[in-house]
């Protein structure tokens, strides 16, 4: 690097730039926090949705599935599974979930296996509520189509 560009200048860019950008990140985060309530419809987080999220975590669903594109890529995306499997109908979706969860693991040779989690009907209902709530988050219209 040119001699005119000294180590002191490099240091100032590091400390100055780093602090400035971090403050900018804090500011953007503050702004995002103000805007999020409209996008995440948090007013609809019922106790069932919260219990559903805890079940989602306690069974490590993210270890195979993705939700809003994050997680493992071994099993289908679930942020839009309500639309895909329930067609937007809550009762239909809950019915699907009941039979789907009970049928695991599917005995198809060579197919990736979903474990049997032994969830109670109430728990499956909570999980469904969580997935229904998730499907209604404004996530800039992702995924591109219903297949996730």
């Amino acid at each position: 690097m040119a001699e005119r560009f000294t180590k002191g200048m490099a240091r100032n860019i590091y400390y100055g730039g780093g602090v400035f950008v971090f403050l900018l990140l804090l500011g953007l985060t503050f702004d995002t926090m103000l805007k999020l309530p409209k996008r995440d419809h948090r007013e609809n987080i019922t106790e069932a949705v919260a219990r559903g999220k805890a079940l989602w975590e306690h069974n490590n669903c993210i270890g195979c599935h993705s939700i809003m594109g994050e997680g493992a890529y071994y099993a289908p995306e679930l942020a839009n599974v309500f639309d895909r499997r329930g067609g937007g109908n809550e009762q239909a979706f809950k019915g699907f979930m009941e039979s789907w969860m009970a049928a695991q693991p599917l005995q198809i040779e060579g197919r990736r296996k979903m474990p049997q989690f032994h969830l109670s009907p109430e728990q499956v209902n909570d999980l469904s509520e969580f997935l229904i709530w998730t499907s209604r988050i404004d996530d800039n219209n992702w995924p591109p189509n219903i297949e996730g």
């Binding site: 180590k7 995002t32 999020l36 594109g69």
Partner: protein, 472 residues
């Protein structure tokens, strides 16, 4: 070795390599489960194997960073480590906690583990990469505090070089941002937003400071280039890393709830993230080109150059190909992400740890000028085997990802294949990935064997040979 206390680094390095081996074995299991859904699933379901694979990575890299710090900070500070005793205790605590956690993953169902560790009191489990029981997370915090304290006190009583300052800033950031792993609200959007404050601000933020500091240290040692020059480069590289990377976090905020301006901010800033990685390549090659002597540990130089190139490819190039929002709309959460993840983690973080191990381990084993020629030859062979096969894994997953997007994401709703059907179609690429994974494993075996080769041979020259700088 200038200071006796640098020896505490040795168990950290050895344990890091042990966990690395475990990580690769579980990677091979996962790769097979991708194509053969019945493989071992009754004993190790995919989610468990994946958790072990990613958590072992995380922990062995932390062990590597700790070993690196305990080795280089006394030398940089020109003083003994503040408390070698504390470093040894920390090692055993961290190792025991790590082993116990992995055994917990493997021996009991995850829901049972959550129950046994009272996760409901402070729920933090079940989120990607942060699957550790809350008690383990608290343990990680304590280990990090003891580590940062020890390193910080050593720097305080000794020389405050630029490498030291950058390293300690990175370590404090590592400890502070990990605290966000304890924030797990009922609102999934908030959960995800701050989950990235651990994951992104680690790997695309403060870890880059740690990476830069370790690389700069090794380059000074193996090239003899003037510290002033190295430090100026280091400052510029990490400055650009932070300036691009902090707001670059926006590329994770595209599709998880936050507003639309993140589409612009995330795209623009993260498009700049390859720049510091490219500068790191220029830096490494320029320093080696301007070397003041021929260091006999040639393979350590190879690792230092290699990590800069592979980090640029994995984090820089493979990050860029899917970071622009219009592209990411189609590639988000596809095998493209997996491709990027593998090459970036290996190139940037696995390889920097292997770099410092390659430089420091021979010294810790009483070979100040590096290993014997035969050991270096084998290590060099392993270097190429692992690098080439990791590129193979990455290319296979990239093709798989592009293919997946073409079948599942691009077509209109009625015509797109569903997820499982798509996975069946692209299975040949998963077989190819597994084959490269096997080659990688053989490379790792060769690497580990190099530690046991040629220990009886004398090192050819006693003194580093002086040479005129030549271009590389």
């Amino acid at each position: 070795m200038k200071f006796e206390s640098q020896m505490v680094a040795k168990p950290y390095f050895i344990f890091a390599l042990t966990l690395f081996t475990g990580q690769i074995l579980f990677g091979l299991i996962l790769g097979l489960q991708y194509v053969s859904g019945d493989f071992l699933t009754t004993y190790i379901p995919f989610n468990v194997a994946r958790m072990v694979h990613t958590n072992l990575l995380l922990v062995w890299l932390l062990f590597g960073f700790m070993g690196a710090s305990y080795y280089l900070v006394p030398e940089e500070s020109d003083t003994e480590l503040y408390s070698p005793w504390l470093a040894r205790v920390t090692f055993w605590v961290f190792a025991a906690a790590g082993v116990a956690t992995v055994l917990g993953y493997l021996l009991v169902p995850y829901a049972k583990l959550a129950e046994l560790t009272y996760n409901h009191l402070l729920p933090t489990m079940g989120r990607e990469f942060l699957e550790q029981p809350t008690i383990t997370k608290i343990g990680i915090v304590l280990v990090c505090l003891s580590y940062v304290f020890n390193i910080g006190m050593t720097i305080l009583k000794g020389r405050k070089t630029v490498i030291n300052m950058v390293l300690i800033t990175g370590l404090i950031g590592l400890a502070v941002f990990f605290l966000f792993s304890f924030y797990n609200p009922e609102n999934l959007v908030l959960d995800k937003y701050f989950w990235w404050w651990v994951v992104h601000l680690w790997v695309e933020g403060v870890w880059e400071l740690i990476l830069g500091a370790i690389l700069a240290f090794v380059l000074i040692k193996v090239t003899g280039v003037d510290r002033e020059v190295v430090e100026k480069w280091l400052y510029v590289i990490i400055a650009l890393a932070l300036i691009s990377g902090l707001i670059g976090m926006g590329h994770h905020y595209f599709w998880i709830g936050p507003g639309e301006y993140w589409l612009w901010l995330g795209s623009i800033f993260s498009a700049l993230e390859p720049v510091p990685f490219f500068m790191m390549v220029m830096f490494a090659f320029k320093m080696v080109g301007e070397r003041r002597f021929e260091h006999q540990n040639q393979v350590a130089i190879k690792w230092a150059l290699g990590t800069s190139v592979m980090a640029f490819l994995g984090a820089g190039v493979w990050g860029f190909i899917h970071t622009l929002a219009p592209v990411n709309y189609y590639t988000h959460g596809s095998q493209i992400t997996a491709a990027h993840g593998h090459l970036a983690f290996f190139g940037a973080y696995a390889m920097i740890v292997l770099t410092i191990i390659s430089y420091a381990m021979p010294i810790l084993r009483g070979r100040p000028h590096g290993n014997s020629l035969s050991a270096q030859r084998l290590e060099s062979f392993a270097f190429w085997m692992m690098c080439v096969s990791m590129i193979g894994i990455t290319l296979a997953l990239t093709v798989a990802g592009a293919w997946q997007v073409a079948l599942q994401r691009l077509p209109e709703a009625g015509e797109a294949l569903n997820f499982m059907a798509t996975q069946d179609k692209i299975a040949p690429m998963f077989w190819l990935r597994e084959a490269f994974g096997l080659i990688f494993f053989l490379g790792l075996v060769a690497y580990l064997s190099s530690f046991f080769v040629g220990s009886k041979e004398a090192v050819t020259l006693e003194q580093p040979q002086l040479a005129k700088p030549t271009a590389v």
